[in-house]
Symmetry: C2
Subunit: 259 residues, 2 copies
DNA sequence: TTTTCATTGCGTAAAAATTACGGAATAATA
DNA sequence: TATTATTCCGTAATTTTTACGCAATGAAAA
């Protein structure tokens, strides 16, 4: 990350590189220690956090822009991502004089009220799900930290980013039935208790573990492996993996994976 | 509709009234004679059709803009509408020299390639559902007709508007289980066969009419009226209406109205 | 070595929902 | 009066969901 170069590109040339008035924000979900987490950035010299985001280059596809932004923060290609809502309150990106001063100071750029970055911005939002352990969080030049935060204990967020996370979670809960959420959040090999915990965490409610397992196995989308996972002073659970072909076929045909 | 005034407002002053690079397109569903229909506009002097759409005023909320656009085409306030996808292929709004010439001629405005209307535009899309009979279709100054078209027999559409309709229909099919679709598409009073036909049409598959009726009645969301609808040489079906309070309560609580 | 504890695997059974389908009631027409 | 076709109001078999039990297991404690 070349901070000086990025700063100039955004602050001074951004108005001709990027589509004005439009941005992209990403809600990146990960799952770790039975907690749904979301990747956030902490602004330099501020106790304010934000979602990973950025702008759309003039000749860039929306999805390509979202993927690029994701790659920059996570180090990963080909993350599963879905557009879920476009936020556009006229005042959503307004900054107080203090905020403007702060932005000016961390970018070493004088800002007047006509600067393209201070204009009204409509944000096209995507959610992404990926394996927690594969992510290598990378702050951008405006931030000092890029970290996973628990969905139930979010820090103070800028603009409408908290609303974005809430809307993304609602969408995730609906999509869990016909999008490859579990498939992308879990390791390639997982146990029944692990996928059970994941669904309980996402749906925010208790599911009977015996009925859940029975139903999931009856769908025929996962395969039991000849491997068990040692978990200490208890019976070692079997490992499973998704039958990729059957799973993708089911998704394509729109079969509702109701649990 | 004052054509000259609207033309000047859009073509000459639009760049300062509206947010550039952003538009709104609406997929308006109606239901008539057991057919799902969508409201379309036919361009002047052209056999090309488009969805109702428009731009967002600088201080206008996205949803407010969508409502305004809907009102202008349908004459109705408070139509049920939901944002469903933002389309933004870089080339989606490109026009051939022929198309530019055509636009110039129907607006009596010379257009050079720097005109704000010819720039790349990202479109925020909404679907709406409303009672077919209440709509008073109104073409805008670029169009000579505003008409309902059957979802299964669409005319030639500009840009990615066919994709928009397909995506809207997919969303409608998912939303039918937890959004007031039937409630907004049917008359206040309807019969069991009418709502059964509506669901079959939207879902695109046969539903057993005896099981459908039984299930719908078991949800407790509709009330049988002391009225029947004479349909000629057959037994007159009873009329029903939604129990508004129970229905809204069910929607709020997220009860899935699975049929 | 035996016992304890807590998790996982593999069920059983009752309740609820879904699915398939029949025939009486009805109303205009022949 | 008989015919036709639609609606109403079912019954019953099948499937799914829900609730829950207990044996197998494995590390740690006694």
């Amino acid at each position: 990350m070349n901070e000086e170069k990025d700063t100039i590109e955004l602050m001074e040339n951004g108005h001709s590189i990027y589509l004005p008035h439009l941005s992209i924000d990403c809600v990146i979900f990960g799952y770790h220690e039975q907690q749904l987490k979301v990747l956030l950035l902490k602004w330099k010299n501020r106790n304010r956090w934000s979602l990973p985001g950025g702008f759309i280059k003039n000749e860039e596809n929306l999805r390509t822009a979202a993927s690029r932004i994701l790659k920059e923060r996570t180090g990963l290609d080909d993350i599963f991502l879905q557009q879920f809502h476009t936020f556009g309150e006229p005042t959503r990106s307004e900054r107080s004089p203090e905020d403007v001063e702060h932005l000016s100071s961390i970018t070493n750029t004088p800002l007047d009220m006509e600067h393209w970055l201070l204009k009204r911005t409509v944000s096209i939002c995507y959610y992404a799900v990926t394996e927690f352990s594969k992510v290598d969080p990378q702050p951008d030049f405006l931030s000092e930290q890029c970290e996973w935060q628990e969905i139930d204990r979010l820090p103070e967020l800028i603009f409408d980013h908290r609303d974005m996370i809430e809307e993304a979670l609602k969408t995730l809960r609906l999509h869990i039935y016909h999008q490859p959420i579990g498939y992308n959040l879990l390791s390639e090999k997982f146990t029944l208790p692990e996928i059970h915990d994941l669904y309980e965490t996402i749906l925010g409610k208790a599911l009977d573990r015996r009925n859940f397992a029975k139903k999931l196995l009856s769908l025929g989308l996962i395969k039991k492996l000849n491997e068990r996972k040692s978990i200490g002073a208890h019976r070692s659970p079997y490992l499973y993996k998704f039958d990729k072909r059957k799973y993708e076929k089911a998704l394509k045909s729109g079969i509702v994976l109701v649990i």
